[in-house]
Amino acid sequence: MTLLEAPARESTGGGLASAARNRLQQLLAFASLIVICGFFSVASRYFFTYGNFTAILFSTVVIGTLAIGTTFVIISGGIDLSIGTGMALCAVMSGVFLVDLGLPLALGVPAAILFGGLIGLVNGINVSVFKIPPFIATLAMMLVAGGLALVLSDSAPIYFTDVEGYVELSTGSLLPGVEFPNAVLVLLGAALVAGVLLTKTVLGRYTYSMGSNEEATALSGINVRKWKIAIYAFAGLFIGLAGVMISARLGSAQPATGMGYELQAIAAVVIGGTSLSGGKGSIVGTLIGALIISVLNNGLQIMSIPQEWQNVILGCVILVAVYADMLRKKET
């Protein structure tokens, strides 16, 4: 019995240590966010204002929504490159439903979101049934969705001027008495739902499980194929939601935009501490990651640093974030 008892303390220590480590990771991302905010507050007196903060949150909505969905896919060990142009296609579909077909808002918006789920479903089937590597399957979908967005809209923007209440979905303010855009509420709501699903439900558990060791998950009797499709389809709903939010913000569906958003979203996920090799990550982390990107863009803009340099800096931030994560892993 002594043999069996001896290592018990060690494993307990391991459990505590790893829990602390996960918390530390989120703390670190959050601390970086605070540091960056602090820096800009000192560097520019226009930064630390209520108006600017809501502006930052507002500008986080689209990338944040996309990133939340992608977090599921990436934790499960996959990748989704089709979210950018997929979002443009969903924006166009929203136009088709609401403007061309004249569906009421309560029908057209859910339809556009579900269309995003359809994009994800196709991705999921390609990845899990036809065994096409996620990078390739979603790269193909990126091209297909980008092309379809142009075809369905005749390459012209669709304006929502006559759709009552559409723009308010994004820019209106439901909260009484304060200037707080609805879009931010949508993002927070989406994050809450996603966070609960990821941490408290079977779908979330299998997402981690597959990303951690897919074969083991399958051998445990879990229908990996089915759940993988579910994850991509679920992530697709966020493509649809992002499509609605971006077109509501602009008041129009812009079929040619979208390309490039996927990389920003993936960057947010990675900065937030989600591992590209799967098995680990969180919605809170992703939100912080998306905020870091927004704050950087916003702060650098306020400091009148040209757009080109903003990308350079963002690239460096990604490298630093991932490298810091690797250093932490090495220590343990």
Binding site: M1, L3, L4, E5, A6, P7, A8, E10, S11, T12, G14, G15, A17, S18, A19, K200, T201, V202, L203, G204, R205, Y208, S209, G211, S212, N213, E215, A216, T217, A218, L219, S220, G221, I222, N223, G279, K280, T332
Partner: protein, 528 residues
């Protein structure tokens, strides 16, 4: 009494290969049945049939007298057949409890996970089995031995009637193996049986009641493990008798010293490691897991940083800062993990053999001279008797023994004089082991100096001209061939000078206050 599990006349073919033909076995209630056979004998095919990954072409399975038909992993688990696969099948990012009950999580309102109930269930199971596990610990942070315990807990949580363990001790040290065996004896009882697949004969004798031998996909016989000798089992496995009392060849004490290592130390583990390697000698490195044998090799070839110590090669001090330096000095390191560090699995035999020497030998102005590479590779395939249909065969399609030979050939082409073999026969079946031993003896006979790190004492005793014994990062003794016995090696391998003043006195070391940190380090080193 009716057997628990019966396998009868089972055959299975894959395109071009007959994996099993007319295989049978029976597992009784409450017994541990060892299943042994060389690599490729059909053990894993049989396991895949039982777990429903493949289905049999012919034959029948019966569980508790009832016909058994398994259609997939989930069904196998439901029917009471649990398999612990050789490669760990755990999710390293999830906790112990989450791993054990994956796919069967307690829920509220169908969708929501009930984490508290999950942890309670796991704690109850762990307590019932008497395992040293914390349900909330993340599996990736556990030692290999404790991960194995998680696998067992998971397998048993399905109310397994038949538990199949495929090489459960491949990565465990002796103490951990003993713990595992104690655990197995505790849970095996009526209505349950264990099929225990292993290569290690001592273990089979220690844990199994009977041994079923499979050879070339066919049933070769079943023996009572207590009334049989290891040699009988092995000869049944390979279909021939193997000389079990072979001794080291060419032991001489007048060989000139080729490599002198003095005071080699690392921050994490090694303390003042000194030894000589003589020309044409096979120098065995023995010790328990975590003793620092692999670390010596890695520090020596510059793969890890050393904190102090000198290396003298042919009388000249040399500085080895990285593995490329080591190779330049003619020191080749053959990792214990061939598949990860030794081979390009998707590349051809030829490409693997020529890889290390590509620039110096097989290239002109950056262009590869394929003909030269092919000729040289062909030569070594001949002299080392590498069994491969062509030089273009992918390395992954060779057997373990032949893969090892390909790695050897790579270093021979490179003209290495010092070859460091880390666990040269790990994962290689008994028949092919002999060939590797013969190869090592031949290489030494040609004047190559060999360091052989091995966890298998019989292998150390059979091959080593001298044995360096290590414990806790120190060399505790260098034994001459005639002094080396299982007992003497184990004695010096278990000295713990850092904890035990008597051991320190025996070794003539001052027991310092820093001692308490060292078992921790040893464990870390064993894990990495």
């Amino acid at each position: 009494m009716e057997p628990l599990l019966e396998v009868e006349g089972v055959s299975k073919s894959f395109p071009g290969v007959r994996a099993l033909s007319d295989m049978r076995l029976d597992l009784r209630h409450g017994e541990v049945l060892a299943l042994v056979g060389e690599n490729g004998a059909g053990k894993s095919t049989l396991m895949k049939l039982l777990s429903g990954i493949h289905s049999a072409d012919a034959g029948r399975f019966r569980l508790e007298g009832r016909p058994l038909e398994v259609t997939g992993p989930a069904e196998a688990l439901e029917l009471g057949i649990s398999i612990i696969h050789q490669e760990f099948n755990l999710m390293p990012h999830l906790t112990v409890a989450q791993n054990i009950f994956i796919g069967r999580e307690p829920r509220r309102w169908r969708l929501l996970l009930d984490e508290r109930a999950l942890n309670a269930k796991a704690a109850e199971l762990i307590e019932r089995l008497g395992l040293p596990l914390d349900p909330g610990a993340v599996v990736g942070d556990l030692t290999v031995a404790n991960q194995q315990m998680v696998e067992i807990a998971k397998a048993l949580s399905y109310d397994a009637k038949v538990l199949i363990m495929d090489e459960p001790t491949a990565a465990l040290n002796d103490v951990e193996v003993a713990t595992l065996h104690e655990l197995i004896r505790r849970f095996v009882g009526t209505g349950m049986g264990v099929i225990y697949i292993s290569h290690r004969m001592e273990e089979i004798k220690a844990i199994a009641d009977r041994v079923t031998v499979i050879r070339d996909g066919e049933y070769a016989g079943t023996l009572d493990s207590h009334a049989t000798t290891t040699r009988e089992i092995i000869s049944l496995m390979v279909g021939r008798t193997i000389a079990g009392d072979a001794r080291p060849e060419g032991v001489r004490d007048d060989r000139p010293v080729l490599l002198e290592v003095r005071g080699l130390s690392t921050k994490s583990l090694l303390k003042d490691v000194s030894f000589d390697l003589r020309q044409g000698e096979i120098l065995g490195f023995a010790g328990l897991m975590g003793a620092g044998r692999t670390e010596v090799a890695r520090a020596l070839v510059g793969a890890d940083r050393s904190d102090g110590g000198t290396v003298t090669l042919r009388g000249t001090p040399v500085r080895i800062g990285n593995p490329a330096d080591a190779v330049r000095h003619g020191i080749g390191y053959l990792s214990e993990d061939r598949k990860r560090f030794g081979l390009l699995l998707d590349q051809s035999v030829k490409a693997n053999i020529s890889l290390a020497s590509l620039r110096e030998r097989f290239a002109t102005a950056g262009f590869v001279r394929d003909k030269a590479a092919r000729a040289r590779a062909g030569e070594y395939v001949g002299t080392l008797r590498i069994k491969t249909p062509t030089l273009e065969q992918q390395a992954k399609n060779l057997s373990g023994g032949n893969q090892q030979k390909v790695v050897v050939a790579k270093w021979l082409v490179k003209d290495c004089d010092v070859l460091i073999f880390d666990e040269p026969t790990r994962g290689i079946d008994v028949g092919a082991k002999e060939e590797i031993y013969q190869l090592l003896n031949e290489l030494a006979g040609q004047g190559k100096s060999i360091i052989m790190i091995s966890s298998e004492l019989p292998e150390i005793l059979r091959m080593s001209h001298r044995v360096v014994v290590m414990s806790e990062g120190r060399v505790t003794r260098v034994l001459e061939s005639d002094e080396a016995t299982q007992e003497s090696i184990m004695h010096f391998a278990t000295l713990r000078p850092d904890e035990n003043p008597e051991d320190a006195a025996e070794l003539g070391i001052d027991a310092g206050p820093a001692g308490s940190a060292s078992p921790e380090q040893a464990r870390k080193a064993g894990r990495s």
